[in-house]
């Protein structure tokens, strides 16, 4: 497959994520209905926020009585790791990088979209273009919306098939694992080991949000300590 900087090659690169987002979207839709929201509200939340963990927090915190601004800021803080995604993509694209239309494609940079962009750019920098980034973003975004709507309208039906339900719940972890495998090289093996250890400890003693962000930053910083070797 040649590395064309087109919408289609972006869409192809993020296809696995798009498939994985449907069941996670369904889980969110089901949770929203259980929390007393309507199907329209759940879908609107997915369309406007488009960030899984923080959407679950919105469900939990709306109506909790806390000041609106405090609630909003603490939910936004759970997405802090996203500040590294755009710069990491620009860095990976190097001489092909352009920030044209970045205000629009960066909206679609969820964890999965970022992962698929990095995996593709790791294969070839020639993929990068705004069109490619829109292609990366479109599939997972609409899959997330459709999943949310399905979950909100018909989520209950899935509980009749526990094995399928369980297998779908494993799609995202399986995706993350195979993306790590495809990104790993001699330089990044120590980075992944440090990240896994730090994330594990931080999640256990603090929270998943702090653990994922902290593990990721410490892990990426450790690449400087193992430095001096061939850059990735």
């Amino acid at each position: 497959m040649s590395a064309l900087p087109t919408f289609r090659s972006g869409a192809r690169a993020s296809m696995p994520i798009a498939i994985g987002y449907v069941p996670v979207g369904i889980a969110f839709g089901v949770a929203a209905i259980k929390a007393g929201f309507t199907a329209l509200e759940a879908t609107l939340l997915s369309a406007v926020v488009y960030a899984g963990a923080s959407q679950f927090l919105v469900l939990a915190l709306v109506g909790s009585g806390a000041p609106i601004l405090v609630t909003a800021l603490s939910i936004i803080a759970t997405n802090l790791r996203h500040v590294f995604y755009g710069p990491a993509i620009i860095e990976a694209a190097r001489e092909n990088a352009t920030k044209r239309h970045a205000w629009a494609w960066s909206f679609f940079l969820s964890d999965g979209a970022f992962g698929s962009a990095i995996v593709a750019l790791n294969r070839s920098r020639d993929y990068f273009s705004p069109r490619f980034m829109f292609g990366i973003g479109a599939g997972p975004y609409f899959a997330w919306l459709i999943g949310t709507a399905i979950g909100a309208v018909a989520g209950g039906a899935l509980s009749a098939y526990p094995a399928i339900d369980a297998a779908m719940g494993f799609l995202m972890p399986a995706l993350f694992l195979s993306m790590v495998l495809s990104l790993i090289n001699r330089v990044h093996i120590p980075v992944v080991i440090v990240t896994v250890c730090v994330t594990l400890v931080l999640i256990l003693v603090t929270s998943p949000t702090v653990g994922i962000l902290g593990g990721m930053v410490v892990g990426a910083c450790s690449s400087l300590a193992f430095g001096g070797r061939k850059p990735a």
Binding site: M15, I19, L44, V48, V49, S54, V58, V62, G63, I68, T71, A72, I75, I76, N79, V83, F84, Y85, G86, A88, I89, E91, A92, A97, K99, F107, G115, A163, A166, A167, F170, P173, A174, L175, F176, L177, S178, M179, V180, L181, L183, I184, H188, V191, V192, T195, T199, I203, G211, I212, L213, G215, M216, G219, A220, C221, S223, L224, G227, A232
Partner: protein, 106 residues
């Protein structure tokens, strides 16, 4: 649809978009792949995804071997399928199918 819900949704949407966009907009490349910032950013991809895997898997862990058998065998299947075909989609779907089968059996 109540006002508080709409305001929080719009604020969180705006804030999340700013987290994704502003660093992209104001970032300056170093032009040197060996510069510390460049090395940090190229390690961010594998580090972020490894951290997300730990975050996704940790709540599934349990001291009961039967409870985590689907996770262990599913993850092993992902690795084996990946080494065999070098394809993310095949590894993911293969791992999820093994997970579902083991879940149904134990």
């Amino acid at each position: 649809m109540n006002t508080e819900f709409i305001i929080i949704t719009v604020l969180v949407g705006l804030g999340t978009w700013m987290l994704r966009y502003l660093p992209t907009r104001f970032m300056r490349g170093t032009g040197d792949p060996r510069a510390p910032l460049s090395r940090f950013l190229s390690a961010t991809g594998p580090a972020a995804i490894a951290a997300l895997y730990v975050g996704a898997v940790l709540p599934m862990l349990s001291p009961d071997l039967r409870a985590i058998a689907p996770l262990l065998l599913g993850s092993a299947a992902v690795v084996l399928f990946y080494l065999w075909r070098r394809d993310i989609s095949i590894a993911t779907v293969g791992g999820a199918i093994v997970y579902g089968i083991v879940f149904a059996v134990v």
